[in-house]
Structure formats: structure tokens, C-alpha cells
Amino acid sequence: MIKFESYEWIAIAIMISLFIFVGFIQGWSVSLVILNMCIISAIMTMGVNISWGYAGVINFGVMGFLAMGGLAAVIVSYPPITESWQVGGRGLGISFILLVILVIAVMYINKIVTKKRNRYLLNTIVIFFGILLIRHFYLTATDNIEDVNPAIAGFLGGLGLPIIFSWIVGGFFAAGVAFIIGKVALGLRSDYLAIVTLGISEIVVSVLKHEEWLSRGVKNVIGLKRPVPYEINLQNADWFINLVTYLNSTKLNNIIDTSDRQQVLNNLIIDGSGIFVKLSYALLFLIVMVIIFYFANKAQLSPWGRMMRAIRDNETAANAMGKDIVKQHLIIFVIGAAIVGVAGAMLVTLDGLFTPSGYRPLRFTFIIWIMVIVGGSGNNLGAIFGGFVIWFSWIEAAPLTTFIINQLTAGLEPTNALKLHLLDSVPYFRYLFMGLILLLILRYRPKGIIPEKIRHS
């Protein structure tokens, strides 16, 4: 079983008290919004931590895997658009079959032709004409699909299943992409791997951005169904009204006037429904986080986890002991990516919309990495802690900066140009904070706030 040290309990207590603090200062709604994103960030961080912390495999493709998870959410939950399938389904099918044939042909050529120069030449010719042929079918099909009611549809739609399934599907999507990336890029030196994964994640996002038949591209998919009730339904549900009345009975009973009491009750119900929805999200996310945390810890303590540490600390020695390093690297890269994919699907579920252009490396790759480094790589609780603390400071940086700037420039007039300029650029100070936090941690606590426990077994 997992046992926490005393300083780890302190970390957990800090995380909880942060939200209670914000709850009292800025309201519970704000606190819960931050909490939900913190949990999702923590899951992303655990995903990266598994590949980086356990095995030292760098994964800068976080953004791409998140986007794949988001795509899964769309494909699973959006109702199918039959018209699109009718006009474009056949063409897409043909081009897919042709693509498979092309891949097989290339593999066959690589197997049969031994002379290097001939092989490259033949491959180039086959791929060139193959792509020309595929494009012919593919472009007509996708054009047709994109013409179907472009204002609200214009893509294939999804399966119309409950969105919660997409959390698993998103993991598989991301794992599939990670498998391909891993096959291609693992084995490169770590900093090359970082650049290549970063680049491929950009490719993934640009595909999602521009293949409108699949993901609606920059037109975004909105109105994805929620796994939790809608506020408006809650406000009309008897059980919810009774619950709110019961919880606030003392407060309500003090109000004598009936119309006043009804007014207060209505406000309470409106506030309460928002908080209830966010709480349900938080509960669902917490369940996922605890499950992943449990299994990640179990894996780390298992012989497999020990082997991973051995590979990370000394590849040559582990290889000499008969461990298949390439295979294990691939496995852990795929597992890490799958967890990030789950988080990606959860992110889209929370927002209820999928915006491919919103995936930017600064926000979705580098910040996650800062979480891992700050929290402590190789320690799952550290990863969660990093996710919570960094996301928290990312959000709370703006109010804090406003406060600091106002204090520092208190002597200046309110129309002072410098003061106005500084107040205008408040949103950018969070980047400064992130950079400084990362640099300070790397300098003075390179193993992170909650470092990996050294195990002697």
C-alpha cells in the first residue's frame, strides 16, 4: 500500500488549504474552476512523469497527445452526421484502402530491393504517384463532406455515445500516435528526441486544424454533451431545490417575508447549481486521478518499475543485464502518452468544446514540463503537487501581479503612462513567474519540491 511521509502529508494539506483559501477570498465557484483544471493538469503531469521520471524518456509532444484526446471526445460524443457519411464515406474508404496498399507496397519494396539507391528511387516514385492517386479520391470526398451544411456541420460527426467513454478512447488515440512517434524517433539522443516530439506534436495539431472533415478544424466543435447535469435542469429539479432548502434552512427560516425568502432561495439555487456541476466534475476527475495515481505508484514499486529505473540510471548496464531498452522505452513512452490523452479528453469534456487552434506549445507542453520539474520527477505525488501548484500560480498570477503593481506604483498618479502600461501587461507577468520558478527550482532544488524517494531494494 502507498504510505506517505510526513512532508508529503504537508504537501497534500497545502494543496487542500489553497482551495479553501481561494474559496473564502474569491468564492467557491472560482475555487472549483481552478481545482478542476488542477486535477486535469495533475493527470497530464503524471503522464509525463511516467515517461520522464521513471525511464528518462523525454516527451515534448504533450500538446499533440492532448489534442488527440480532445479529438476522441469529439468522435465519441458528437451525434453522427449521416449526410456527410453518404456524400463522402465511400471516397474516404477508398483513399484509406489505397493508403494501406501504399504502405504495404513500400514495406514490400524495402524487403525485396536490396540495393540502397534503387530502393530510395523506387520508394520515391511509388510514394509520389500513390499520393497523387489518393489525393484524387480524398480531396473530392473531403470537399463534399465540408460542403454539407458548413455553418453547423461540415464534418463527419461522431458516434453519439456518452462523452465519458472518450476518456478511455482518448488514451488509445494518444497511445496510437505515440506508438508511431516512438517507432520513428525513440533511440535518438534525448535533446533530439525533445525537438522531434515537439515537432510531431505540431504536425498533429496542424492536421487537426486543417482537416475540417475530421475535426471541423478552426471552425471548432461546440456543444459537446456533458457527463454531468446541466444547471438549468438542476434549477428545475425538485430534489435539488429541496436539497438547497435543507442545507440553508436556518438562513431561510430567519427571513420572515415569503417573497423575500423565495428571492433568496432562487439566488441560492442558481449559485448552488453552478457549484454542484463543478463539484460533480471535480468528483469524476478525482476518481480518475486517484485510479491513475494508484496504478502509477504500484507500477513504480513493481519489478517493472525497478527495471525502468535501472534503464534510466544506466542504459548500458541494463542492456548488459539483458533488458530490451528500445522496447521498454517504447512501452513507457506509449503509456505516458496514453495518460496525457486521457487528460486531453477530460479537458475537452470540461470545456464542452474542441478548439484545435487553442493548442499552443507554450501553454500545453512547456507549462506541463514546468509542473513535472517543479513537482519532482519520479515521484507521482510530486507530479500531482506540481500540477496543482503551477496551475494555481498560473491562474492566480494575474491578481497577484495587479496587487503588486498597484502597491509599487502607489505613489504615481493613476494616469501615469508607466503605471498604465504595466497594468495593461499584467497577463504577461505569469510567463515571467513560470520562468523564474523553473529556473529557481532547477538551481536550488534540482530534484523538485517532492523528490523521488531513493529505494534500496
Binding site: L188, D191, A194, V196, G199, Y431, L432
Partner: protein, 337 residues
């Protein structure tokens, strides 16, 4: 014959001249990355932001000169502000080395840790830039926009197709030639340059021969500062300055450096042009070009475009992946300055 000339002009106008200009900007950027990689031995993710910083200082001083009515006539005022930008960028590089990178160098940290550190530096510089200049797109090129307009060319030659020559493109190409010549001369002929090459080839041996590592690193940062500032300013001059762009530019720059063989300055330059040309050539619609060349029954009906321009960015990475698969050390053998 006229058709043939027309098709050549189309190529020149839409592929070759923009390709050379963009390639020069990438080459200068990649050269900076490669210098850091060869001497300091890490992938510097902050390079794009350093470029952006240099461009920003140049813009600020361009504005200052413009307000003082100081200009260079037909040349953009930015050229006058460029030296100040260069000095500021060098100072930035040296400060970041003194306060951040030096510690890890003395610790002999692994390259990945230094790469992480450079991400921290990237965030800080990024924030500074945004706080100072905001995030809006800034056009700061003034003076004469075109050396030759498409119309002038048509009148001059009597061809159907026009050839436009932007002054920013010509300036880019000229400055690149000067800077590259100087850099390679410096590396090959001067004593400091030779000691840098020795240091990059074999650090321990270089130290034994009495080369001062701090001096080598110092010189490297000066060169990186110059290259980054010039590359950033030229890119901004050519396309227009936007702080967010430079983060995206880091990736093609890395791709150029790796494709050419990272650590090899000549490779970085070639890589820059390879990436630039493949980006432009793969996403260019060849219809116009083929219409001139082929007899009318064979004329293409579609755009004859391999990939839509949306994927410009993806192309550089596909090239990177292919090169890494076929020839992991890059086109030219990397790792030695």
C-alpha cells in the same frame, strides 16, 4: 521560348527569391543554434526569444530615430538601429550565461538539464518582450519598399509575368552573405576561431592545450548575439514583427540545424536553405508554371499542389524526421564546429 522565360520568371518570383530570403533568415538562426550546441553542448530553446529580443530593441530604436527624423533615405531606418539591437542582444546573452547557464556548465550537467534551463530562460525573455512591447503585429520597415515592382519588370522585358524584388529581401540576402563570410573567416583564420573549433572538437584536449574555456564561451555568446539579433530583425523586416511568431520559428530553425548536421556551421546554413525551399516548394501550386511549359492539351486542371499551404510548418518537420531516419548525423557530419 517566351513561354519558357515566363515560366522561369514565375519560379523566380514565387519560389527562388522568397526561398533564398527565408532560407537566409533560417540559416542565420540555425547558425546561432549550432554555435551554442557545438560549444556549450545543449539545445537552446531560448534562441527564438533571443532573436525576438534583438528585433524588439531594434524596433524601439527605429521608433526613436523616426521620431527624431533620422533616416537612411531609401534604406529602412531599422538598419541604423540594428547595431544597438546587436549590442543589447549580446548583453542579454552574456547576462543569461552569467546568471543561469554558467552554473550548470561548471556543474557539468547533462544536456537535457541545460535544455530545460533554456526553457526557463525562454519564458523569462518571452515575458520581458511581451511586457515591454505587447503582442501586436508591428510593421517597422520604412524607406523604399520595392527595388523592382512587378509592373516595372513587365514593361522592361515585355514578358507576361512580373518579377517583384522587395528591398527587405535584397537586404536580407546581402547581410547574410556578409555575415556568413565573416563568421567562416573568423572560424578558419583567427586564433580565437581556431580555439573555438578545437574546443568544440575535443573539450579536454583543448583545455590541456591551454585554451581558456571562459573566453571561448564568451566569444560564442557574442557571435550568437550578433547572429540572433540580425536574423530576428531581418525576419521582422521581411514579414512583420510579432512576438508569438518567434516561438514557432524555433522549430524550423532546429530542423535546419539538425538537417544540416548539428554542430556543423556549414551544415546549418545549408539546412536553412533546404528547409526553406522544401517548405515553399512542397506547398506551392505549380499550375501557373506548368501552363507555360506544357502544350495546351496537357495543361493541368487542378492547382498541382502537393500539400496545401496550411501544412507549410509540418513540411519542415517531415524533412527533419526523414533525415534523422535515413542519415541521423545530418546531411553533413555534425558535432564539430
Amino acid at each position: 521560348m517566351i513561354d519558357f522565360l515566363n515560366s522561369i520568371v514565375v519560379l523566380l518570383n514565387f519560389i527562388i527569391i522568397p526561398g533564398i530570403a527565408y532560407g537566409s533568415q533560417l540559416a542565420l538562426g540555425a547558425l546561432g543554434v549550432t554555435f551554442v550546441y557545438a560549444i556549450l553542448r545543449f539545445a537552446n530553446f531560448a534562441h527564438g526569444e533571443i532573436m525576438s529580443f534583438g528585433a524588439m530593441i531594434t524596433i524601439l530604436f527605429t521608433w526613436f530615430f523616426q521620431s527624431q527624423n533620422i533616416n537612411l533615405g531609401i534604406l529602412p531606418t531599422a538598419l541604423l538601429a540594428l547595431p544597438i539591437g546587436i549590442i543589447a542582444t549580446i548583453i542579454l546573452c552574456i547576462i543569461s550565461d552569467k546568471f543561469v547557464f554558467q552554473y550548470y556548465r561548471y556543474q557539468k550537467s547533462v544536456p537535457v538539464v541545460l535544455a530545460m534551463v533554456s526553457i526557463g530562460v525562454m519564458f523569462v525573455i518571452n515575458a520581458i518582450i511581451r511586457i515591454i512591447i505587447g503582442t501586436e503585429t508591428i510593421k517597422f520597415s520604412d524607406g523604399q519598399k520595392f527595388i523592382m515592382k512587378a509592373k516595372q519588370f513587365k514593361v522592361m522585358t515585355g514578358l507576361n509575368e512580373g518579377l517583384a524584388l522587395k528591398s527587405s529581401q535584397v537586404i536580407t540576402i546581402l547581410i547574410t552573405i556578409v555575415l556568413l563570410t565573416f563568421t567562416f573567416w573568423f572560424l578558419q583564420k583567427t586564433k580565437t576561431g581556431k580555439s573555438m573549433r578545437a574546443f568544440s572538437d575535443n573539450e579536454d584536449l583543448a583545455l590541456l592545450s591551454g585554451i581558456n574555456p571562459d573566453k571561448v564561451v564568451f566569444t560564442t555568446w557574442i557571435i550568437v548575439g550578433v547572429l540572433a539579433c540580425v536574423a530576428g530583425t531581418l525576419y521582422g523586416l521581411d514579414k512583420s514583427y510579432k512576438p508569438i511568431i518567434y516561438l514557432n520559428l524555433v522549430l524550423p530553425i532546429f530542423a535546419s540545424a539538425i538537417v544540416g548536421g548539428i554542430g556543423n556551421p556549414f551544415g546549418a546554413v545549408v539546412g536553412g536553405y533546404v528547409i526553406a525551399f522544401s517548405e515553399i516548394m512542397v506547398t506551392y501550386a505549380y499550375k501557373k508554371f506548368l501552363v507555360y511549359l506544357l502544350p495546351s492539351p496537357l495543361e493541368p486542371t487542378g492547382l498541382v499542389q502537393l500539400l496545401s499551404t496550411d501544412y507549410k510548418f509540418a513540411v519542415s518537420f517531415s524533412i527533419l524526421v526523414i533525415v534523422l531516419l535515413i542519415r541521423p548525423s545530418g546531411i553533413f557530419k555534425g558535432r564539430v564546429l
